[in-house]
Amino acid sequence: MSLFLLAVWTLWQRELVRFYRQPSRVAGALAPPVLFWLLIGFGLGPSFHAPGAAAGTSYLAYFFPGVVILILLFTAIFSEISIIEDRREGFLQAVLIAPVPRASVVLGKVLGGTTLALLQSALFLLLGPAIGLHLSSAGALAILVAVLFLLAFALTSLACAIAWWLDSTQGFHAIMNLFLIPMWLLSGTLFPVAGTPGWLGAVMRVNPLTYGVAALRRVLAPGDAAGLPGFGASLGVTAACAALAFGAAVWVASRRPTR
């Protein structure tokens, strides 16, 4: 096995082992989104009707894809924030002076976070049939996995780039509250882009995550797709963002000195 792949493999494996040895991280990434889903879903349900959604679509069902994205985002954050801890505790320094390309370190870390995000979201997706979401075929499942992978990879890379750039977990939490959570709120997860007025609608239309959410909605609930960007465009934007975010993470990691 090449040195590059060995490095990717070992960092990926460490990410999984560590995550599942700290149950609070697993719960922290999974429980809040599910709680939001239930509270907001039941609370807003009676008074909400999404334009473009088929009549009879419950808010729990409408909000479902958004919660999947939130689980991906939280897992990405919880896994990549460990870069800051690794640096503080000294573990990272030993990795950074190993004779491996920085890109392999970043890729291992990001693939680890991506895998965790996929596993966590899969747990939640098992609830789908309970609210009437069904995949039409094995092909649809394959497409779902591909879309989830792209989304998870993009969000994990973004979290990785941010974590590599920061020195404190407090700083990361600030970025999360001021940037990552608003990005999620304004991506058509809670309320649709169509019908959102003025500048807010414009922000939502340039938010790349809007396209990721659209891609996921089109796979999970093809009947409620009116007013969403096309599937091809959504997938294209998401893939481009994944590549861009990963490039940014490698760039930040390569530029930063080892402390």
């Binding site: 070992t10 460490r14 560590r18 030993a94 190993a98 004779p99 402390r259």
Partner: protein, 322 residues
């Protein structure tokens, strides 16, 4: 000692005119030094002397402002990957993942150096055996004592059989018995691998384990040599006189005995062959000025004082260790 023919004359580490600035502060002010193959060299100096900065440059963690370092011929700035393959590093701060077991930590490290499969598992078993931790292999690092964790760090640094081992204050935080144990394991590991080692320390007794000692102060190399040779340059004994009036006492000694006395804080220091002959004379001559008198064989601190005019450790009186 390595004896691989062609490179025999080449030093393990070549440091040339190395400088490091952090803003206005010059942490390294032009250091040149060769580390010979197979030797253990101790970098000894007070806090802020530049030894940790030098260590970070050697470990490829920091790019120097100017000057060069090559490790077995590989320049650390131009060819870091090549240099890194030769390096085993034990940092001052722990570098183990506390949530992973001892074996998992070593496996992770080995893979970063291209080891895998049977070979990796054999290396791990061998490394744990050498540091006496075979029976703790499956425990998580967070369950180990500080001394045992340091030994895992040593096993981690040696796993890929580097030709150069770098250790930064490796026994910090260990009690004296754990420290002795760590050094015993380090000696054993080095003997077996024939590795060259560079160890930073602020402890004189640790530095004396080196084949040579490089004394650093304010970013400069102030002395370099074998411990015995460095101490021999003092040429005799060291007398330290405790006093409230160091300046006048030093002047008095110069006038009366024609011997140079150095003022250090609230003490006066004299280097003299057959120092014990001088003790009664001094006490007779200055019965009131001298509050206490210490006679000792020269220590590395005395060498340091001679070269820099101050102690290795602030507030250190006499020749004791810190």
């Amino acid at each position: 000692m390595h004896a691989d023919g062609a490179g025999l004359t080449q030093a393990a580490v070549q440091i040339r005119e190395l400088r490091q600035r952090f803003g206005q502060r010059e942490a390294l002010a032009g250091i040149s030094l060769d580390v010979h193959r197979g030797e253990l060299i101790a970098l000894l100096g007070p806090n802020g002397s530049g030894k940790t900065t030098l260590f970070r440059i050697l470990s490829t963690a920091l790019v120097p402002t100017s000057g060069s370092v090559s490790i077995f011929g590989a320049d650390v700035v131009r060819r870091p990957t090549l240099a890194r393959r030769e390096l085993g590093v034990v940092f001052q701060a722990p570098s183990l993942d506390r949530k992973l077991t001892v074996t998992e930590n070593l496996r992770h490290q080995g893979r970063l150096y291209g080891l895998h499969g049977r070979q990796l598992e054999d290396r791990i078993a061998g490394a744990l055996d050498r540091v006496g931790l075979s029976d703790r292999a499956r425990e998580r690092v967070e369950q180990l004592s500080g001394g045992l964790a340091r030994r895992v760090e040593l096993a981690k640094g040696m796993l890929h059989r580097p030709r150069l081992l770098l250790l930064d204050e490796p026994t910090t935080g260990l009690d004296p018995s754990a420290r002795r144990e760590f050094w015993a394991y380090l000696d054993a590991v080095r003997e077996e691998a024939g590795a060259t080692a560079v160890v930073t320390t602020h402890l004189m007794d640790e530095a004396e384990r080196g084949d040579r000692i490089a004394l650093l102060d304010e970013g400069r190399l102030v002395a370099l040599g074998a411990p015995a040779a460095l101490k021999a340059e003092i040429g005799g004994d060291v007398l330290t006189l405790e006093t409230d009036e160091p300046e006048s006492l030093a002047a008095g000694i110069w006038g009366r005995f024609n011997c140079r006395a150095l003022v250090l804080e609230r003490a006066v220091r004299i280097e003299r062959a057959r120092g014990h002959d001088l003790v009664p004379q001094l006490v007779d001559a200055f019965p009131d000025a001298i509050l206490g008198i210490t006679l000792g064989k020269p220590t590395l601190d005395d060498v340091f004082v001679r070269r820099t005019g101050h102690h290795l450790h602030r507030g250190m009186a006499g020749g004791g260790d810190a």
